[in-house]
């Protein structure tokens, strides 16, 4: 699995896809050391995906059937929701990259 750092590095303004079209960024991007919106979106998608996987990897033993069932049901639901949010963040990331690309072509 690709780490957050690797994913973020890929989109850094020094050489990633996001760097191709800085014109799409807003004034907030001027803050020093702030990742570009595209990089921050990619990081968000990876963080959500990783959180989902980490929770699914846990093996809690409650010692009682009903309690164990409730714990697993909650973890499954949270994990699925995080995965769904990750997919949405990834879609949005692609949309932002596309918008940046188009803006770059216009200029």
């Amino acid at each position: 699995m690709t780490s957050v750092t690797e994913q973020t590095d890929r989109n850094r303004p020094t050489g990633g896809v996001a760097a191709a079209a800085p014109a799409a960024c807003t004034a907030a991007d001027a803050a020093p050391d702030a990742p570009s919106p595209a990089a921050a979106l990619r990081t968000l998608a990876v963080v959500l995906e990783r959180a989902s996987a980490d929770l699914l990897a846990m093996v809690p033993f409650a010692g009682e059937h009903h309690t164990g069932h409730e714990i697993h049901r909650y973890v499954d639901e949270v994990s699925g929701t995080l995965r769904s949010l990750s997919a949405d963040a990834d879609d949005l990331h692609r949309a932002v990259l596309l918008a940046q690309h188009r803006t770059g072509q216009e200029h």
Partner: protein, 167 residues
């Protein structure tokens, strides 16, 4: 050649692995903090395109209740792990005391050991009977407290499950 099966190992009075529950609580806390930080780094107004800002705002609105729930549930599971560890520790001490008194604990039941154990001594037998009743009351209390705690945890998990359910 004569042979016999060993006696089955008695069941522990309190089942569960407190460390694994605590680990899940910590994982939920950690994941909630990671998600919160990633969201904080990306307010919707940072996006240039209005439609993308709208989509990001929706993402925020969906994600915030999830990481808040993960935080609450992480804390609740950590608390439960502590209660479970206490119950396991108390039950282990009770098993030791029962064993010293010539008694046997199998699951939720304290009983006399089967078979003949020394000479019949009415006074000693009466003392053992009293110890058995006392230890059984203590074990019942440990199990009842844990059952109450587990019910409360299940209630909390049911509520939190409804909050994070995918729409």
């Amino acid at each position: 050649m004569g042979w016999s099966l060993p006696e089955p190992r008695p069941a522990d009075p309190v089942l569960g692995d407190a460390a694994s529950i605590a680990a899940l609580g910590a994982a939920l806390h950690r994941a909630a903090a990671d998600v919160r930080h990633a969201l904080d780094d990306l307010p919707p107004e940072r996006l240039a395109v209005r439609r993308d800002r709208g989509r990001l705002a929706v993402l925020h609105a969906r994600a915030v209740p999830v990481h808040e729930s993960m935080d609450r549930t992480g804390a609740r599971l950590t608390e439960h792990a502590s209660e479970l560890a206490d119950a396991i520790g108390l039950a282990r001490r009770l098993v030791d005391r029962a064993s010293e008194a010539g008694l046997h604990v199998d699951g939720p039941t304290v009983s006399r050991r089967q078979g003949v154990h020394g000479l019949a001594d009415p006074q000693r037998e009466a003392g053992r009977e009293e110890t058995l009743r006392r230890l059984q009351r203590v074990l019942d209390a440990i199990l009842m407290d844990l059952d109450t705690e587990r019910r409360a945890l299940r209630g909390a998990l049911t509520s939190e499950h409804a909050r994070v359910r995918r729409r």
